[in-house]
Subunit: 352 residues, 2 copies
């Protein structure tokens, strides 16, 4: 036997590289085109780095308090982690501990099967319908748990309160995780329902609507019981996941609600304009509740559009996957970025 | 069946709370008494927060490059994570994948059994000898892997090159992890040996010698093969563990070698003085190669000393554990802090 036999066999998940080129339009990672709140920047500039010699508060209590106040829940209902991927990875380990398969849609966040493989969680997928909607009746089957984004990605489509109530009630014997990474751009939030359903966990992130992808802050809201299990697993993994600077800057971002609403309003206005302009060019564009749109055009290869735009330094996202290989995903950038995108799209259509 | 049956059963590991009191001497968490490098502070003040809207570079390549240069290894030999607890937790998942028990000392870092429980890794412990040294011959047995801190904690005792060579050669069929959290305070570093032994992984942290416990940066050095598996597991867990600000500040800290050596020199000088003064008071103090000391005194209860000092707002560490319940662990603070500690210790001895 060699030490090699004791190594984890795993298909390396390779994260996308960030381009370092200048003068590019980077609308491929669902990042926010606007900078974070100036109050978060001020919190950084004012931060006393001498404090960094100490470990952070393991519970990031003051950040939890800011989120609890914002969402109208108790501090015991809030969990924070190193980005929502960290929160979701811990939630998979915390709540999906049975032999029954967990359930999620066939077209959804690509990390779910990766975590299932990593933690040996069995899973089934239920196909979206022909309009890319989730059929809640599929989830009436017995499941080891349920996880899905609402709004879903990369479809951009969101579901409402009735859908979530049904989903949680059909799965009263399992934990249901609603991943609200994109909810602030116009989706329905299930946070209030966590007070009614002890088996519902809602996750969120500072990476999209709060323009802080570089800082790594994610959170979850749920019953004190679920949050307690998450805390126990997290504290058995790494007690200090959120660093002291992120805690300080995260609080400032949450408290600056005016800036938050203003930038979200701008993203939504741009999304509406881009959607209309693409439709006028003959594209089919789904009704997005997120900071990205999913679009296609009959008679044109979206893979070719993706490759063409890359040569013009406009980076969008193409998934070479069943059912969505006819679509491209476009993050909503600034108005200037989207004007350049639209202009290059026109060039592509004229070239063909 | 209830959703409760699908929750992870785990004994909650409860991290120590940080005291918020003023005018305390906090020498209980092996934190550095000196602030981080002024260059790390400058890197923070100069940081362009607009960049935070982007995800960090998933590989934290520029931080890896700084560490590779510092340690004289290739970038492909360096891994970085969210504190060395994150690095170790990922290493347990990456390298301890057999039915055979992994091995570590009976008195050592308290997180090892926690990770074994979390990841279902079987383990055996080998007792330290009567002088709290590790007997390398114990590790000749067939193991699923080996992990130990060098210098060890909370003993403060370090082993040299011959010990590590034997340990790695005895366990050529397993991965051996040497956890060098405290090595910069006078221990022997095995980093150079990673070039000879493909099954040796060395881990390190910015939390002790670099005064950045609040920022959460840990790293590992080993063969490109081991680092590749660590990367694959990490990217399947959370691709973006080290945030953009930590990357920038971490690089500045690594590059400021003058400040690094100066603060370490001060800690070591204070350690020598405190060791001598305690010995003059009748204490037995182990020969520390770390930023803390383990001490005891015949005829006095160390638990009582710990409790007494707490009433004086001097916080040291007491472990209510077999074999070390007669000792206290004291982090080396500033000279002023240690003077106050020594003065209170004298008061304790006189009171009894």
């Amino acid at each position: 036997m060699s030490y090699k036999d004791k190594l984890r066999k795993i298909n390396p998940y390779v994260p996308g590289e960030q381009s370092k080129e200048k003068d590019i339009v980077k609308i491929n990672a669902n990042e926010n085109p606007y900078p974070p709140s100036p109050k978060a920047t001020a919190a950084m500039r004012d931060f006393d780095t001498e404090k960094l010699r100490f470990y952070p508060n393991a519970n990031a209590t003051i950040l939890k308090e800011a989120l609890a106040k914002y969402y109208g829940v108790g501090v015991e209902n809030v969990f924070v982690g190193n980005g929502s991927d960290d929160v979701l990875a811990l939630a998979f380990q915390s709540f999906f501990c049975s032999d029954k398969p967990i359930a999620y849609p066939d077209i959804t966040y690509s990390f779910y099967p990766v975590w299932c493989d990593l933690f040996n969680v069995p899973y089934v997928t239920y196909p979206l319908d022909e309009n890319f909607r989730i059929n809640v009746e599929d989830y009436k089957a017995e499941n080891g748990g349920v996880v899905l984004p609402n709004p879903n990605a990369p479809t951009s489509l969101g579901e409402g309160e009735e859908f979530v109530r049904k989903l949680v009630e059909y799965n009263a014997d399992s934990v249901v995780i609603i991943d609200e990474a994109y909810v602030d751009f116009g989706g329905y939030s299930s946070v209030a329902l966590t007070k009614e359903y002890p088996n519902l966990l809602v996750t969120g992130t500072f990476s999209k609507s709060r323009s802080l992808a570089g800082l790594r802050i994610g959170f979850a809201i749920g019953s004190a019981e679920l949050i307690g299990v998450l805390e126990a697993v997290k504290n058995s993994y790494n007690s200090y996941t959120v660093d002291s600077l992120s805690i300080a800057m995260g609080i400032a971002a949450v408290e600056d609600d005016g800036y938050f609403k203003e930038t979200i309003g701008k993203v939504i206005a741009t999304r509406t304009r881009v959607t209309n302009e693409l439709r006028a060019l003959g594209f089919e564009v789904l009704d997005s509740q997120t900071n990205f749109i999913l679009a296609t055009h009959d008679g044109y290869s979206m893979k070719e559009l993706f490759e063409y735009l890359k040569t013009k330094k406009v980076f969008i996202r193409y998934f070479s996957l069943p059912r969505i290989e006819k679509y491209v995903r476009i993050t909503i950038g600034t108005d200037d970025e989207m004007d350049r995108f639209l202009s290059e799209v026109k060039g592509f259509l004229e070239d063909r």
